[in-house]
Symmetry: C2
Subunit: 435 residues, 2 copies
Amino acid sequence: MSLIVQKYGGTSVANETNIKNVAQRVVRAKDEGKDVVVVLSALGDTTDVLLNMAYNINPHPQKRELDMLVSTGEQISIALLTMAIHFLGYDAVSFTASQVGILTDSVYTKARILDIKKDRIVDELKKGRIVVVAGFQGVTRDGDITTLGRGGSDTTAVALAAALGAEYCEIFTDVEGVFTADPNVVPEACKLHVVSYEEMLEMSASGAKVLQLRSVEFGRNYGVKIHVRSSFVDVSGTWVIEEDERMERAIISGVTHDKNQAKITIFDVPDKPGVAARIFQALADSHINVDMIIQNVSERGLSDISFTVDREDLPLTREVMLKVKEELKAREVHFDQDIAKVSLVGAGMKTNPGVAAAMFSALAESNINIEMISTSPIKISCIIRKEQAETAVRSLHKKFNLDRVSRPHKESIGTGSAPGSQPANGLHQESGRNE
Amino acid sequence: MSLIVQKYGGTSVANETNIKNVAQRVVRAKDEGKDVVVVLSALGDTTDVLLNMAYNINPHPQKRELDMLVSTGEQISIALLTMAIHFLGYDAVSFTASQVGILTDSVYTKARILDIKKDRIVDELKKGRIVVVAGFQGVTRDGDITTLGRGGSDTTAVALAAALGAEYCEIFTDVEGVFTADPNVVPEACKLHVVSYEEMLEMSASGAKVLQLRSVEFGRNYGVKIHVRSSFVDVSGTWVIEEDERMERAIISGVTHDKNQAKITIFDVPDKPGVAARIFQALADSHINVDMIIQNVSERGLSDISFTVDREDLPLTREVMLKVKEELKAREVHFDQDIAKVSLVGAGMKTNPGVAAAMFSALAESNINIEMISTSPIKISCIIRKEQAETAVRSLHKKFNLDRVSRPHKESIGTGSAPGSQPANGLHQESGRNE
């Protein structure tokens, strides 16, 4: 029997009515003859409520205890959804991450999944039960509870789909799929019907919040087809799949932006081997993810190094960098939170020169100064002033004609099956854009 | 180093301020040089809020899922208290029941502790840490989460104290100790300074809500000294300890009442061997605790059997009894929720005849009819009409001069040490009552 994994986000289970609706969706999949594993986030704003309590009690709560605390949110969801499924007359059972052995490292609040012991889930599926698993959480080999960071339930879902060999993984959320830009910023933004793992990785890494980056990595590494779709509207969303010959290669799939970044510059460090390594090793030791890095060498044998981090990591980065500054006898460290990153992502970029030039000229036409640039084969990112982010996104969306992506018929992809199991031409038509 | 276990109830951790106060108390014990294990209930009314959500979603929630749900309440408490302790600069670590291996049977919602794997706690105590454990919950050998029933955190605390060989176990609650009667009913009720395990067992079993019955059983079976005291007022409470020669033996220690009882009568069952066994085995198979039992034999070879159960077990009892009725071809089953149980408890009863007669005459003087009677060597209970419960308690309290128990000085027992480690005469004075 074919198996699917469904993940429902916090708004999808925000209240009793929504939970009952999710139960209906779950049993519909079961009625279609599928084995179903459900992964849930915490109810609505539960996590924020718990975090507020924590910070009122201790402004610097220990991360192990934070994970102990917030992991209760998902435990509440899974119990309630399982009761709702029982009420519909179906057999179901809930599990915490600890109970199904979602093993992680012990980097509390942003742990990484190391292994999944799937035996208990497989046993319950064999009994004909719907299995409901707490997302976002994991357990160390010592039995301590961890969490996977914001959006971690996506990763739980895709990792489970990978471990169980699921046909595909459905990510039910409060948006209809992945768009060419944030529709709140660009009303003309279009829903993408297919994106490759590589594109989705770049989009998630550069500000698209629809899927946690790690979940896309799992999808790519294990070939899990991911369907991002609305839990409120019953239409096909966006499929995240392997890039192959059946996909038209759009030059640009989307414009993303990220205002939760901070730029750090350390001035006048010695320009000699090992200095950059020292800085970035210190950051890595504190589990801080560094995004862009730029180094300028001055004539005096000193250099300035700039880099960006997630803004939430800024307090810790500040701590680390002030120590590094002393150690390297650097002149100064500067912290800047008023920046944004705008990015262009598209698999077709690889074979289409001139995209960078077009991007820079679009920004220049809007009088936007570029402070840092970073590129990958399918992405170009620029750091700009934060207040210009929306203007930049709109001007890039227009420059690359992303509003001309044809809006396909809603019925054109069946809601229940993956692109790989469909005739190729249907997909060709839908992603045939930006020719 | 000596070890103590402290348990704090729901009102003691109802909000952030209370949690901070509890943290202060905990570190004070640590400062006194003790190893400290803390057991917590859920914050205030968390459990009720969660249960309401559950019943709104499914009027008959599966008990396994109920336990999955409500066990989150204690997990929230332990994380928050541990953060509060950290904030005071002390080392502490929180654990769920699953993490410290509080093994139970799988009777969800009222599981019994089978074993405690204390290694993890001992390891953390050796590191100098305060250990904070979730009360009320347990885990089956299969890793499923269970709960121990209302008041179950008391049992967690005393069971941990037994397993760890604690010097004593402090139960911090919202009352100052065990009283001669419910002070809400009898304003003249006096705090008892010492009661024996046997007396406390009878009092808990007959309506005193201050300690869960199971916790007192653990205390007695493993000789754990229990100190029931207020978490809001810093005075000595009630010590529950072994009855020995140092204790004055009061004839009556207290009057208890319980309005959460129901009486069931099955009429005209065959008066032959095996019939009563059939009824009570069926109830036991459904995990229903039966309290009093009375059987009357009629002349026709038929008998009527009456018994009482906790009112919360009434729906299940009804189900079981209607089946039993069919099977035994009994004439009728009658269910009565309008009853109460009043009880007199006192270790001195054993050597003082005439207590029962005095009790019955006190009730008769108040025009209260007795429907059922049950006795133990240190307890007499009567079933009466529910609306007469308060009158009965007041009249018994007066009849046995319980308002004349001398109120001892608050300082007379140190707040931090058990009676066994004190000179005996201090205790003599305090429990020298009812002469």
